[in-house]
């Protein structure tokens, strides 16, 4: 049930990201916005665009956009047994048939993996799970893809997909599945239903070589921890669908065709929508939400004349209408401001991390360079300590240098907006390391020390 894998300093095995919860998504076209946000070339490493990285660990070429998260690959490169570096949360980006469009584009970073693998409890479940995982793996973090083609485009056109995983298999199980779904404690059953469906399909289309099974089973063991989420099922087997406006629009159309929200049944809606990867479970819960959303406003509208004592008082006062408007306006203004600030803050946070990563890389490079030079030149003991300017530790140069990376990254984080300034400073310091005597570096020390000291910014 873990959502993440983390590389840790100890030899603790890297947990692959949990495969249980996957978020197949159909994407909305948010072209303008996201492109802008991640528009820097540098943001190749930003969430929406990761540079293609050859997939280490299981040796297969990346499918769509090699934008399976880069960090995933970093992880996998570290783990010795090539643990499958999936980020299962995101890998099952059901691009709804995007398989047929193996694009390199980050936004396509989903394999048309419709179903999510749930972390199997019993060994028998692993087989399906693994099969399902393989294609999923490449799905990347790119949840909110900028490109919506998936959604409208390929749905039924993905031949291999529909062959391999025929929704009709699922529909055949409808009765059974509905019973299961009705039982809130039966998520495990759901899993089995899903898996039956999976197995029912002859070949869960696996274009890629099989993944490392041992890694999977290993991870399977790891993910049994109870989920603190509100899900009743401790294995959190829910397959999450990340809805988009387009998908919802498609849903509404289907419902209307079927005679309205009260009349439509999940099964029919599902059939009408014809979206790969969408399960009856998704539709059912969505339909429930939809009904609730429609019911409440309508019921309150049914009694427009209802007044509480308070509003009776209000209605007597001609001023009140204006007051209320004002209150609403103030509330609205505040909310708008909060929204704006949050967006700004978020962009900053993204940039900070980018810069941090960049710095890290630079530091590591410098470190290598430094080490090499140390072999050749002895008086460079000074220069290695110069690199420690940011670090709290003064021990050996290598360790400090690597800490520099993270410490520098952390400090970059502290100065939200002065990222660029940091970068320039740091690099000039590094560049000067070998050339300039102490004073110059000492001179540039002060700003960094100030940063270090004043660094306890409340965040």
């Amino acid at each position: 049930m873990t959502g993440f894998s983390g590389v840790i300093s100890s030899s603790l095995p890297v947990l692959p990201t949990s495969v249980e919860e996957n978020y197949p998504t159909v994407f909305v076209s948010q072209s303008g916005q996201q492109e802008m946000e991640a528009s820097d070339n540098q943001s190749k490493t930003a969430p929406y665009h990761t540079p293609p990285v050859s997939h280490i660990g299981n040796g297969r070429p990346l499918l769509s956009s090699a934008q399976g998260s880069q960090t995933d690959f970093q992880f996998s490169s570290i783990s010795p047994n090539g643990r499958h570096p999936i980020d299962p949360l995101f890998t099952s980006q059901s691009s709804f048939g995007d398989r047929c469009l193996p694009s390199k584009h980050s936004s396509y970073a989903m394999t048309a993996q419709p179903l999510i693998t749930h972390f199997p409890k019993e060994p028998t479940e692993i087989s399906w799970h693994e099969d399902a995982l393989t294609p999923m793996f490449d799905g990347s973090e790119n949840f909110t893809s900028t490109h919506s083609q998936l959604l409208n485009g390929c749905l039924v056109t993905s031949d291999d997909f529909s062959k391999s995983f025929d929704l009709s298999d699922l529909n055949d199980l409808d009765e059974a599945s509905l019973d299961f779904l009705n039982d809130s404690n039966s998520n495990e059953h759901q899993l089995q239903v899903v898996q039956q469906a999976g197995r029912a399909s002859s070949s869960f289309s696996v274009p890629q070589p099989q993944i490392n099974k041992s890694a999977l089973s290993h991870s399977a063991e790891m993910c049994h921890a109870p989920s603190p989420s509100s899900s009743t099922n401790t294995t959190a087997v829910k397959s999450r669908m990340r809805w988009t406006q387009e998908l919802h629009g498609c849903f509404v159309e289907a419902v209307n065709q079927l005679g309205g929200s009260e009349r439509a049944t999940p099964k029919e809606v599902l059939k009408l929508m014809k979206k790969d990867g969408l399960t009856i479970y998704h539709v059912k819960s969505h339909l429930q939400k939809y009904r609730t959303a429609r019911y409440r406003p309508e019921s309150s509208e049914a009694v427009p004349e209802k007044t509480s004592t308070a509003s009776e008082k209000l209605s007597l006062d001609p001023q009140t209408g204006i007051e209320i408007t004002e209150t609403l306006r103030i509330q609205m203004a505040l909310q708008k401001q909060l929204h704006e600030q949050l967006e700004i803050q978020r962009n900053l946070q993204l940039r900070i991390e980018e810069q941090g990563r960049y710095l890290q890389i630079m530091f590591e490079k410098q470190q290598k360079m430094g080490l090499e030079m140390m072999k050749t030149k002895s008086p460079l003991d000074d220069s290695s300590t110069q690199t420690v300017h940011n670090s709290d530790n003064s021990s050996d140069g290598a360790r400090s240098a690597s800490k520099n990376g993270s410490v520098a990254a952390d400090q970059a984080e502290k100065e939200n907006a002065s990222i660029v300034a940091i970068t320039e400073e740091e690099f000039s310091q590094i560049g000067n390391k070998h050339k300039l005597p102490e004073p110059a570096v000492g001179g540039s020390h002060s700003p960094t020390h100030k940063r270090a000291k004043g660094g306890e910014i409340q965040q």
Partner: protein, 252 residues
Amino acid sequence: MKFGKRLKKQIEDTIPEWRDKFLAYKDLKKLVKLMSITPSSSTDLKVEEEFIHLLNSEIDKFNGFFMEQEEEFIIRLRELKERIQSVISTAHEQSEAVYAAEMWRLRKDIVNFHGEMVLLENYSSINYTGLAKILKKYDKRTGGLLRLPFIEKVLKQPFFTTDLISKLVKECEDTIEQVFEVPQENAKLGRPEVVAEEGAEQSIFRNTVAALVTMREMRKGSSTYGRFSLPPMSLPDIDLAQHLQLPSPIPS
């Protein structure tokens, strides 16, 4: 602990159903404290494991909650838009009073809806910040390098990829302008209904203010202003709003 306190305050002020969905910052801090400074002993490994496990499960929690909310918002936005259309188009069929009442309700609903969405963005932000901070603390304590890769993962999580919500918010804002521009019915006839949602509205309002205050505090007081630093947030309305909070704006 400053962040911890602010987080706590926000949780107090937030929409009641959301209260348990926030980051378990305190618990994570406790785990960090358990870690020894020198590299791993055997207990260290266990603590580390627990720490990571808790982080992961928190993230799962965020994702799950966030996506649920997102889904609901998508539905509700569409419904609101339809409702507006229907109210406006049937305006001529109804008495002024009824129409006015409906418009009021609509306005209120839409503003609250907007507020909820923004609060979800805030939810995302504050949890992210908490994660970033706790990871930093962890690395600082243990000399480890957990933070950087982990935070990169976090950046890609659904709960942090808020583009869709952002888009919904903007659409909502556009829609709101439309609603408020509608020919102003006679204010005297307006009967804003004080319905049971009063509580929710108040908590949205309170939470919004709390969030803004938190952000402002977090962003001022940096001793390391550079050329590129953001100016401190100036929110003239916020003081007014804080005053408004004390007496309930609408008697309930």
